[in-house]
Symmetry: C2
Subunit: 216 residues, 2 copies
């Protein structure tokens, strides 16, 4: 087992350090965030930091670097206070990765990457048609993270679009059946293979596997 201490860590070249530290949190979610500006210019960007915050109210958050290519996403969310989150699947992972290129404000990542805009009635922000699980959010809060000048953007989920077959009897969504991918580090994409669902853990009980529908 290699032990990397603080001194060694600080001496690594910047790029090496970025790859290394990005690998530590484990497997990450891969999501495309869709927004629109006042001139009806749509924007799409991949994020690996979308995280569940709570079910009631239904909240998710994500981390934003204000100085990065994703700043158009931030500007648009601040103006419209709405955005969509679209799970990346095995049909679109390369196109999703391409959205991280530094396109100009007037360039649309949908057009540049071949992904398709999809709109629902009464909503201006775009969904990704090819995504099999996606949802609409209303901005709740943008929290500055002092430790490194990033932002934690929090939104409430108002509408969900999902392939019906993936929603199981107890509410669990079988995202593996939607071919949702996961990410490791900065640039590595993975498909998944289910080990099992597990029963609710209790102190003096033995765990048992659950079926995909949540049954014993």
């Amino acid at each position: 087992m290699q032990h990397i201490n603080n001194h060694t860590l600080n001496a690594y070249p910047a790029r090496y350090r970025v790859q290394l530290i990005n690998s530590l949190s484990g497997f990450k979610s891969a999501n495309l965030i869709g927004t629109i500006d006042k001139q009806q210019q749509t924007n799409l960007a991949i994020f690996s930091s979308v995280v569940h915050l709570g079910a009631s109210p239904a909240l998710v958050g994500f981390i934003m670097r204000p100085d990065s290519v994703e700043r158009h996403t931030l500007e648009n969310i601040q103006i419209t206070e709405q955005y969509t989150i679209n799970q990346v699947n095995q049909d679109i992972w390369q196109a999703a990765h391409q959205t991280s290129a530094r396109y100009l404000k007037e360039e649309c990542e949908f057009q540049k990457t071949g992904l398709t805009r999809e709109f629902i009635e009464g909503v201006k922000v775009p969904f990704v048609k090819e995504s099999q699980l996606k949802y609409l959010l209303t901005l709740q809060d943008i929290m500055p993270i002092k430790a490194n000048n990033t932002l934690f953007v929090i939104g409430e989920i108002t509408d969900i679009l999902c392939q019906e077959h993936a929603i199981k009897d107890d509410g669990y969504i079988d995202i593996e059946s939607l071919n949702t991918v996961s990410l490791s580090g900065l640039d590595c994409y993975h498909s998944t293979q289910r080990l099992s669902r597990l029963s609710y853990a209790k102190p003096e009980s033995t765990l048992y596997p659950l079926s995909i529908d949540g049954e014993k």
Copy 2:
């Protein structure tokens, strides 16, 4: 494609809603957080919300519900300002899940689940011996999230312990080779299968796959 609107979402039974909303963020990281209290009582708890914040300084965050079983973790971190994060792998995913049971403060999840404590010189907080990638953190900040009364706990990485073979030439850590698992929903565990690493995206260039070492 099923469209679940806000009205339907609010009408779901609580448990169904919890399963559904927990599935939306995509694949999650599975990590064990190790802490110790002033009486040298160790504690271990699984978290699915560990998220990368930045490489310089090296920061990760995680979400904590103050009223949950994980409160011992919070109390200990507030006292000692140190904790470990240990990636969950295919050898220990059931034991890791079992740490979510509501054990009493004086019960130690290491003993109850069969996981092994590991200490490094000069550090009081415990690592998980069976984990193949783990690191030590110093508390930086605990940010209250007003939207749902959770906390965002931020720590700086000071030491990393990792199987040497998994660290590639450019710093990327092949966490799949460590059999690190990912989570979906509340209780479903997954192994992974690498699709590929991808080159850095540029506006007018075509992406190409990278080898696991980050080479063309």
